[in-house]
Amino acid sequence: MKTSLLASDARTKKRNAAEARFKAYGLSAIVVAMLALAILLTSVLTNGLSSFQQTFIALPVELSAERVDKQGNRDPAEMAKTTTIGYAPLLRDAIVAEVERQGLTTEMSDKDLGDMISKEAAATVRNRVLANPDLVGETVTFDLLAAGRIDGYFKGRVTLESAALDGNTSPEALMIAQELADAGVIETKFNWNFFTAPDASVQRPEAAGLGVAILGSLYMMLVVLFLALPIGVASSIYLEEFAPKNRITDIIEVNISNLAAVPSIVYGILGLAIFINFMEFNQSSPLVGGLVLTLMTLPTIIISTRAALKSVPPSIRDAALGVGASKMQSVFHHVLPLAAPGILTGTIIGLAQALGETAPLLLIGMVAFVREYPAAYTPEAGLFGEASTALPVQVFNWTQRSDPAFVERASGAIITLLVFLLIMNAVAIYLRRRFERRW
């Protein structure tokens, strides 16, 4: 049975076809995975990038004294009695006057014209006046937030057709807005408020920002960093360098690898039961959030720290012990510094994981509507004890609201979150590249 190698027989052809098919399956799996990533990112970006832009109306507002300072003594305490409702007519008059000055005609009522300005704008004007009572009586030009629907119109979310069916706006309002935009009165600008302003109520998506959420997430990351890093490193050092190999350390090891796989929501239940119900820490506080995330991140940090310690060759320990250092000295003077880059990388990755975690925070009350910036310390609430929210929870919060403008906000918040994660991971990768040592 002599066969030539140069001609492939039918069976080999069939087998090679199977080989090609198998390769195609593999390649398509990778394509599907990468495509999923691309679609996911595109979806978030197309929905969310517009939240970094915001529509403003530049209006000269006449701050008449009889409206904002009824006593006429320019005392901020007295002037504060005028609520934002008192300022609304000023803004309404300002836009009506502006429409007339531009020579535009409309059948809209003055009230409807006034509704083109965000309800949040009155508060902005009021705060400016209270901060600077000398403005009373003058006509000052303000950049005022446009109402959500007007903003949506310039971002393509609201159209003339959809406005006709919408109780909150009308095609006429959109047309006037367009003419005001042509005249340069309405402008779309970069939205710094998105990163600094607190959350806003359901009717004012245009004013909603991430200020409180970013602050809350920052506080929690500080708690996690200052608790999880030392505890994680200390427990890794013990387990890796000192612990005798016996049943108890075996149990701890199995326990840690299982903790790493416990669903995050279970940590939320733990936080609710232990930290809030039993220890009576404040609900919604970054302290409790940080503690819960610390317990959640610990296994990750312990596992990566132990890997970093393990990668330091025993010869280094022997060398230190050989010149008469104690075991503790050899670890703290030699092993730990050499393992530091690996530990740091693992910690940053653990922090990034904690930053994006949502489920446990829902259970400890961080979904609450918070408009006040939390202070890092107050005598009543203690350290990080004031109610706050967090970036991923804010996203969840906004997805639960019916106004479609909040979808844009939620996606914008996601982009912000992803940028933070990107930076953290980039730092981790840089550290690994820069300090990685092969023995």
Partner: protein
């Protein structure tokens, strides 16, 4: 022992050329592992490749069934022919080639399957058996040829990894000959075995010579002297000397061969 070797050698001189290599070069990324090797290997003969570690003897062996294809950075040039057919011709399917040129590796590497399935693996993928009875016969024949049948016939369904080292290596040999190859390449087949297992495998190699052209890479000069009729000495990627085994060991032509044989390099 001495007598037997003489008789064998007399037989081997009449054989045809099975493998013919001309100007073979192998590069691993930047290293030049094989330099310009020419060699003709006879059919129904045991040919031994000897030389110090890193001399390229295993690399050259892996060229003969194109196992170097599986290493991304390896580049083979030159001309290797089996029965006059260029095995690096683009029309040649390495899969078909490897069915014809079997290989046994340094460390016994049975698959984590039963003894039967280990041996039946090659015939199954190449479609050599028409039915179960055929396959049974091939497995039995191969195991008998590999001198493992008596030890394994009662435990064909036991995992191959449960055998002793020497048995595992004979299982791997049975697995290789089950595809009915014409050439059998052996890459230091005894280096992981104890002396008794080594003796069994060496005996087997001598048996196999009746059916195949056997090429064996070995570290041990004694082994080369015991089992082979022809010996090639490699040094630093060059084929230094290739001749009848007794000539290499009694009257080497090249001073490098002499130094190696007498233990000065290696």
């Amino acid at each position: 022992m001495e007598d037997m070797v003489h008789v064998d050698r007399a037989m081997s001189t009449e054989q045809d050329i099975k493998i013919s290599a001309k100007g073979v070069q192998v590069h691993y990324a930047d290293t030049h592992a094989i330099r310009d090797v020419d060699v003709d290997i006879d059919d129904k003969t045991v040919t031994a490749f000897i030389g110090p570690s890193g001399c390229g003897k295993s690399t050259f062996l892996r060229c003969i069934n194109r196992m170097n294809d599986t290493i991304d950075i390896a580049r083979v040039t030159g001309d290797i022919r089996i029965d006059g057919e260029d095995i690096y011709d683009p029309k040649v399917d390495p899969v078909q080639l490897r069915a014809k040129v079997g290989m046994v590796f340094q460390k016994p590497n049975p698959f984590p399957k039963s003894i039967y399935d280990n041996v039946a693996y090659g015939p199954k993928i190449h479609g050599l058996a028409r039915n179960k009875a055929d396959l049974d016969e091939i497995v039995e024949k191969s195991l008998r040829k590999a001198a493992l049948w008596d030890e394994a016939k009662d435990r064909l369904t036991a995992p191959g990894t449960g055998l002793s080292g020497g048995q595992q290596q004979r299982l791997c040999i049975a697995r290789a000959i089950a595809t009915a190859p014409e050439v059998l390449l052996m890459d230091e087949p005894c280096s992981a075995l104890d002396p008794i297992a080594t003796a069994q495998v060496e005996e087997l190699i001598d048996e196999l010579r009746r059916s195949f052209s056997v090429v064996i890479v070995t570290h041990s000069m004694q082994q080369a002297a015991r089992v082979s009729q022809k010996t090639a000495f490699f040094h630093l990627g060059n084929l230094v000397e290739y001749d009848d085994t007794d000539k290499i060991f009694t009257n080497p032509q090249d001073p490098r061969t002499e130094s190696y044989i007498s233990g000065r390099i290696g």
